[in-house]
Symmetry: D2
Subunit: 251 residues, 4 copies
């Protein structure tokens, strides 16, 4: 029986500020990427999100980012790679210790936002991410963009890599994502999202913005929780997968 | 042969800002309290300080604080104790993971500044600190003011407590510290500092601001690294202890 | 014809984080208190809110706070009054300059959250607030809790004071507000809110949590924009005031 | 009689952290660039620095930066130019209001660090800086790199531009500065610094890292206050200028 992993960014609230719909979405994913306080999240939000994940037996990953709360980690920052490695080790450790305080385990690391995109194409940044993960715990998996540079970096080392694809984002012909700011870059029709996931799962391919079909091999599929249709999209994905007896479970 | 522990706050630089004289002081202490990024320190400074401690085989403790970089953690903040517990777990975990990435071990936790003082007298805060320490790792020791409330809280639980006394601070008759802002509150004559330590070690007592002698039992003695005479005071302490064949080593 | 001022805290979003319903509420108030980036708000949000206020010809006030984004300025902080004065001057100036860049005018200052409450009862804090306001611009009005210490401080000086009452908060018998955490502290029935305002306007009194009627003289009435029923309450207030031909306009 | 302006970055301390030697340097410059709290400085430091400038009758400029305290504003950040404009208006206004609270005047704006360098070569950033300055106060002067893009942008508009040269930095053949990280990029021999200034003043040229002489026209000359030899260099500059009866005074 085929199995796939569904992941979602979680714990991105901050203090009095609420983002996302974590309580509703958590039961529908198999992995959750918890913000570590640098682009979003704070210790109280992190604790609440860890508990929500444990309640629903959802696998926990760290979601570290550039230190940029006001820009939500989406602005590129030119940080020395050695410094970046420590910045990531700090964030991953903070979440890891909090997870372990409940007798649970941190399973993986997925960089956030501008860091995710930069790690997908710049070698020094990809290496800083991989090194941070390996130095904190060799058993941690690194999740990143399918087919990107960070995947290649992991292959050269001993780090397990999980390729990720986006259920609700439009792709370019070269396999990268259309910019968030471009019209139609975020899919908000639940059926279209579900069909995109199904095509990725069954045929290991995706239809791009130009209508071209390109290959795309992924083990985990991401839904953006701050999309207002995220809940509907997740339910549509579950329906379409159930019809094909494909099981949603953590990688 | 008698042994005592000497500790110092370390890693309190931040980005471009340098504080203290860590490289010179590290070889002269047996324990170092490393700032965790909330009142001082940042991931890069933390990594540098961990490496310095490992190089000199100095025992490492976490030095978490209120989230107040601009106030250096010295301003009282009314934080909900449950929130405070998570804020502390976050900081302790961050440092712990970074220390363990070098195959080393985090040995203890010493709260910083206003948090230290509040934990010494307010039960909800003392409990939040003790709970944070216990939840992260039952093997961690909590360091706090000798004879204070936090010591009593630890006795009720399974947490090991190490009582601390201040080598370079003046005491009040009630065993608390004179306010930093008061004249003469910080001792800057190395000989006087060394004599105060010796009296504490040999006789378990201290002379207060009024000249009174009060009992004071401590296992660790703190030197403030940002005091310009810190290095001279540490050398004076080492001399006076060597003459009595008292050994400086981690508790 | 009687006139009253309705005010609301605005511009409390931050980066990717949205709070309140400013676009819908702005047309219904005569004064808006704009956050200055220390408890909420950021330069981009401030600019957007200033423009919204100008579009609707709503009087603009600064809403400075303790430097505590994560606690939304609701946690008491023990800041030296001299330092606090500069912290407030900074925030007020930042907003003032941005308002004046549109050829408009900053009219008043209303402290936020824990600072508001502390200024209402502690003399050094009330004086720091009053001094900050006066030093930035003697023409600025200070808005604060009706009948509180800060009102008395203003009377001793040349600062114009506008007494504020809360449309949607329950009062204690001593004229202070019931704690936010207490049940029923925030009124969410629009009719009850409107009746409380009407009683305050017509009779200069308020019914407290115990049912007692106490005197309360105010020139401005606050609605909390983050209350889900804020919009309904404002509409109910407008209806009830229109029936009595009481006009809503800036003080 | 010839006159030149000497400027220095000031007020870059933060809370407990001290940087520079403002008290000693202030009497030796004619203009000071005061940090506005985003890369360095805080409201208390700003107030202290304003007072120091007023005491020595030194002209005051705002020194705004990217929002990056940990990176001291020296890391490039990809901020939307419209957002950047508001970020700069906020900082400039904050300082301006504090200066005016003493009956004094803010004279100019000089961007800091990575923002300074980016404004010198990227049109959208240069325009954002120029627009921010003009919107806050058309009377403000913009100080920037001599011969750079931001100078050209100012020429197209009504903003007065003051071209700056660096007394203590090595130049490349193309008129840009050698990277801070390169050996010899910062001049620390006071005589060499003084000679470089004199050549710039008398002959409007500078000798580059390759020994080539290139033209360089500047009205203000910058000394970096965090350079340990800054004080000696300033004294050497004053000596060499006095011999030629060149007067140091604000532009």
């Amino acid at each position: 029986m085929k199995r796939i992993d569904l992941n979602c960014d979680m714990g991105e609230s901050f203090g009095h500020y609420q983002i996302g719909n974590d309580a509703a979405i958590m039961p529908l994913v198999s992995s959750c990427n918890i913000a570590c306080g640098f682009h979003a999240g704070d210790p109280v939000v992190m604790d609440r999100t860890i508990n929500l994940a444990l309640e629903h037996k959802v696998q926990i990953g760290a979601h570290p980012a550039y230190p940029d709360l006001n820009g939500f980690g989406r602005r590129q920052m030119q940080i020395d790679p050695a410094d970046l490695r420590h910045i990531l080790k700090y964030q991953i450790s903070a979440l890891k210790g909090m997870v372990e305080s409940y007798g649970a385990r941190l399973a993986y690391v997925k960089p956030h936002g501008a860091l995710y995109n930069t790690a997908a194409r710049e070698e020094t940044v990809a290496k800083a991410v991989a090194d941070a993960v390996r130095e904190i715990d060799e058993g941690l998996t690194l999740m990143g963009l399918a087919g990107s540079l960070v995947a290649a970096i992991c292959e050269q080392t001993s780090i397990r890599f999980v390729a990720e694809a986006f259920a609700d984002r439009r792709y370019r012909d070269n396999g990268s994502l259309c910019s968030r700011k471009a019209k139609g870059a975020v899919l908000d029709d639940p059926e279209e999202v579900a069909q995109q996931v199904l095509r990725m799962v069954l045929h290991e391919e995706v239809k791009t913005e130009t209508g071209k079909i390109i290959p795309l091999q992924a083990q985990s599929f991401c839904i953006h929780g701050d999309n207002p249709t995220a809940l509907d999209s997740l339910q549509a994905i579950h329906r379409i997968l159930q019809e094909r007896e494909i099981i949603v479970s953590a990688f």
